[in-house]
Each structure stands twice: as C-alpha cells, then as structure tokens.
Symmetry: C2
Amino acid sequence: MLISRPANVRYLAGPAAPAGSVLLLGPSGEDVLVSHPEPGRGSARAALPDDGLSWSELPAEADPAVRAASLAAEAGAEVLALEEHHLTVARHRALAGGFPRIRLSDLGCAVEEQRLVKDEEEIAALRVAAEITDRALGELLESILVGRTERHLALELERRLVDHGADGPAFPTSVGTGSNSGLAGHRPTDRRVEEGDFLSVRLGARFGGYRCQIGRTFVIGTSPADWQVELYDLVFAAQRAGREALAPGAECRAVDRAARQVLDAAGHGQALGPVTGHGVGLEIGEDPRLSPAAMGRLGACVPVTVEPGVHLPGRGGVRIDDTLVVRPMADGGPELLTITTKELLAL
Amino acid sequence: MLISRPANVRYLAGPAAPAGSVLLLGPSGEDVLVSHPEPGRGSARAALPDDGLSWSELPAEADPAVRAASLAAEAGAEVLALEEHHLTVARHRALAGGFPRIRLSDLGCAVEEQRLVKDEEEIAALRVAAEITDRALGELLESILVGRTERHLALELERRLVDHGADGPAFPTSVGTGSNSGLAGHRPTDRRVEEGDFLSVRLGARFGGYRCQIGRTFVIGTSPADWQVELYDLVFAAQRAGREALAPGAECRAVDRAARQVLDAAGHGQALGPVTGHGVGLEIGEDPRLSPAAMGRLGACVPVTVEPGVHLPGRGGVRIDDTLVVRPMADGGPELLTITTKELLAL
C-alpha cells in the first residue's frame, strides 16, 4: 500500500514525517517512509517511532511515490494499492509507466476510515486544542471591540491561540460583524465593529496536529434588538437539538435533521448550508459529515462539530459551533470540548 | 478544456471565482465557471468579468468537474482536455465513467505556461505586495527583539502585513534565531532571541492574490562575530551573483549556477538547497525554478526570487531572499521589488 495523502501519512507515521512524505506499507510490516531531506532536520529520522518503520531519503526533484513504487518492485510486489482520491492522474501515470509489472489498485479511503474513531491520546490533544481556543476567545471578549476591524480581531485571536501554546490556527479564523455576521466561510474584511452589530467568530487551535473548532455570536452594545434575540434563540435551539442527537449508533443524517428541522420550522432552512457538522482531527473537515445525504452512523469516540447557522442577507446572522466527542449515555453522553458560554452576551 | 487547478481558475476567471470552482473553456469562447453557491456571496456572480463567461451553480455535494463535463457533453464536445497534474485519479475516473463518449486528454501545464510572464497589472500587484512586506519588516527592526520568541516575531510580522493592507501572508512566515537561523523552511519555535544570535526572517505579503517573498538575516547585539561577517558576506556575494545573472534569455540553470558556484567555491555548496530561486505570482512557488536541473530560459516580465542561504548545523546561518522582475538591460536590468537593505544590520 502506498499512502500519499498528507494527513494519512501523518496519522500512520507520526508527527516527524516531513511534508510531502509517502509511506509504503508492506504485507508483513516492513514499512518505509519516503521523503525529501529537510535541511537542518537531521533529527527527524531519529524521532520516528521505533516500530520497524525505515526511512528512505531521495533527491529533491524526485517524486517520493515513484521511489516507493521502486522499493515495492525490488521487494517483488505484484500489486500496489494507491489513494486514488489523492494521487493525481499525472503521478499515477508515472507509476503505471515506470513499473509495468506492478498492478495498481485503489486503496480507497481505508486510512480515513481508520482515522474516524479517535483513541484517548488523540482526544487528549483535541481537548488541549479546545482549552486553548476557549482561552483565546475568552480574552478577546474582555477587550474593547467597537471600532476594531474584522481582520484585526481575527489576527488577534490567532496570536492568542499561539500565545497559549497552539501549533497555529486549525483553519483561517473567521470574524464577521454587522451584515457579515453569521456567514459560514466569511473572510475577515476591514469592516469595523459597531454598536448594535452581531459579531460572529469562528476559530480553533491546532495542537499536536489535532484541530478543533468553536463558533460564537455576540451582540455589541447594551442590549440586543428583538430580532437578534429571536434569531439567536432559534439557532441555539437548533444547535442544542443537534448536540442532543449525538450518540453512538445515531445516524449522521438524523443528527443533521435534528438541527435542521428547528430552522426549517421557523422558515430559515434555506439559510442553512449543506452540512450542520463534520468530524475533526488531523484535518478540520473530516468524516463523518452531518448532512441530509450522509450515510452511516456515529461511533463512540468520534469527535464532531455541531454548527448550524442562519444568515439574513443585509442584516447579519448567528452561528454557534461546538466540538464534541460522541460518548455513550453511560459515560455521560457527548463530551463538550469547547466550553465557552453559549448565552447571548452583549459586549 | 477543463481547468481545475485553483490558481489557474483564479488566473483565467478573476478574483471573484469561488474556492473549488472549475472553468470550462469552449472552442469559441463560450466559457462557463462552475462553482458551488457561497452563502451570502450572491454578488460574486455579478463581479465576474463581463467577457462572455457564464456561471453554473450546483448542489453542494456535486463535483464541479462532473457538471462541467456534462455541459461539455450537452454542447457536443468530443474531446475534453484536463489538468492531469491536478485532477485526482478518482475524479478522472468519475469523468471517464460518466461521459464515455468524450475522449479525455491532458492539457498539461498550458495555463501555468501562460502565467509565467506577468502583465503590468500583475506586476503592479506584486509591487504593492513588496512595499507592504518591506514596511512590515522595517517596523519589526525598530522594535526590541531580544527575549522574544520566534513564534511571536512571526505572528507580529503577519499582523503588520495585514495592518498595511495585505490580504494575508503569502506563505507561513519563518523566523529562525541562533542555531535555527538560515534554515530554509524553518517553522518558528518558542526559542527566544539572544544577544549574539543570527536572526533570519522570511516573509511576504499577498496582495490582490499576488505573493512576494523577502528574506533577511540580522545579528543581535552590538557587533557580529568574525564567522558571522564572513558567512554573511559569502551569502551576500552569492545572492548578488544570482541577481546580476537575471536577464531575458538567461538560462535558469545559469542563474542558479552563478549563485551556487560562489558558495561551492567556499565549501558551502552542500548546505544549499535544491533551488536558489523560483517564480512568484498567484502561488509562491511557481515556474521557473532556478536549479541545476532547470531547463528553459528567463523571459522579460517574469518575477522570480533569488534566495541562496547557508546553514551550519548547531551554529546557524544566513539567508538573503529578494523578489525581482526580469527586465532587459535597456530598461535598467532586473527590477528589485523588495528593497529592504541587505547590509548586515546589528539590532
């Protein structure tokens, strides 16, 4: 098997695997990490887990996948399973042309499936990531916000994540104010926070490679307008319904439906994106997806986000995102990692 | 032709093209941008250049490439040229299976080749990016550095880039101090700047989609040690040799050789990475590559970096990176975009 997707290589080979590495897995554990040398990182090799993984370095312009196939050929491999959802047609052709005696097959998402359920070490990393995220957000809430731009708030949040020990942000921090609030993938602009605005933020820390996500919406000024309270309560109810539907064995689409139908019933179903949550881990958007078309059921120890939102064009909107770990009721039900309050705060 | 590589789509369809869009180019200009709807970005459609490009939106879970192929099939296309160096095997298979009457061929790097030579509008964006970068770096040099960590300095530089109008950093800012200085892809750590250290920084702004790069090395404290002066002068001489070799018609590998042989002659050739420079534009690592194996020649109006460096394990090192635009001698020779001084400053 030839593993090329970066998060999959990281998952199997550990954090010391240099960027662009591929992993060749043999039938009886004679695994090789193939990577470009990294200047000044002579110690990376030593940092690899000592579990029979060996290391093959190669010239800078060579494709690690081709080297891996060549090692497979030398070892007499007849079949090589590849990640066809990651490998480009051009790289695949180079392998097919270079090693005509090896039959290339598709490994599919076998490694992604392994990554779905997290062990306690992975969950511990996510827990730290969430703690860092909560602290960064908490500090921001204590500062003066009126007059500052979305961009500056986003940068300050990212700085605070790193201050508190994050490797970096888990994804680009989104800050939306006024009519930009509540937009799912809003990229921060030079718009300044004003009295009476909704302010929505979405951020997350990356810690030990693992990524979490939180989203919160606030009101700026003394007291929120009626429409703001109403919209907030609605999204909160939808998000709670989603959270409460999380359980081992629950259908992914049933969790989505739980959140979605609250918004649908209030006539805001269209404002909702295609997913109301997704898995998190080494990547920020992993399986499972919580969407109407999602197949499959949740398992225990699967961390997911629950993140419904409504945006009213021209007015703004609300998003509330949490990261939780699915746990059986006997263990207390879903474990909330992002514990910042979900009360509607007026800042 | 089906264009899927994001920077190529951005190049041909302009900045309004949503993430994940693909572009279908017909034989007589009936071009279609196929993208997922972006909630709250209804205006993106209107922002598209009015040059016959039409717009096809599709459901969130559908692959834009499949929709594009279906539009091509409806229009009676017999051949569809794809970017096989970008498209995955799995997506290619979906196209081949879904549209058996269309012959799929390889477009290769045709769009990347178009992107090589920049027009004056693109160079203007790069010039602004470089101005922003110089200002951010200049401000950092006026602040107290001793005792601060690499991570903090990197974040502060990125904040200043955005303060001065950048869309964001062009790539993750690298700050290395002491034994980390001079490492090409160094990721900032919690190491603090100390008296006597080399401090090397590499950063760049992204402006209007275009990315530039600067790298500088400084000495912390009163006066540099002899080995530091010697190493700095050597890298400076190599970098100057590379810059001076830039000319329309010059072989890429000759430019690389000009810089490399200065370091080789001093016995530091091994410390050098595989490239001594590369093109910049919508991506930070574009063609051409300045390396010993590079084929091809430089053209006028091609922006490139010249960035040799030497790292001595355990001691540190020096990197000096500039972004320049290749220009004929009649126009004054290479245009230096990143104008921060290359004197060895003691900070």
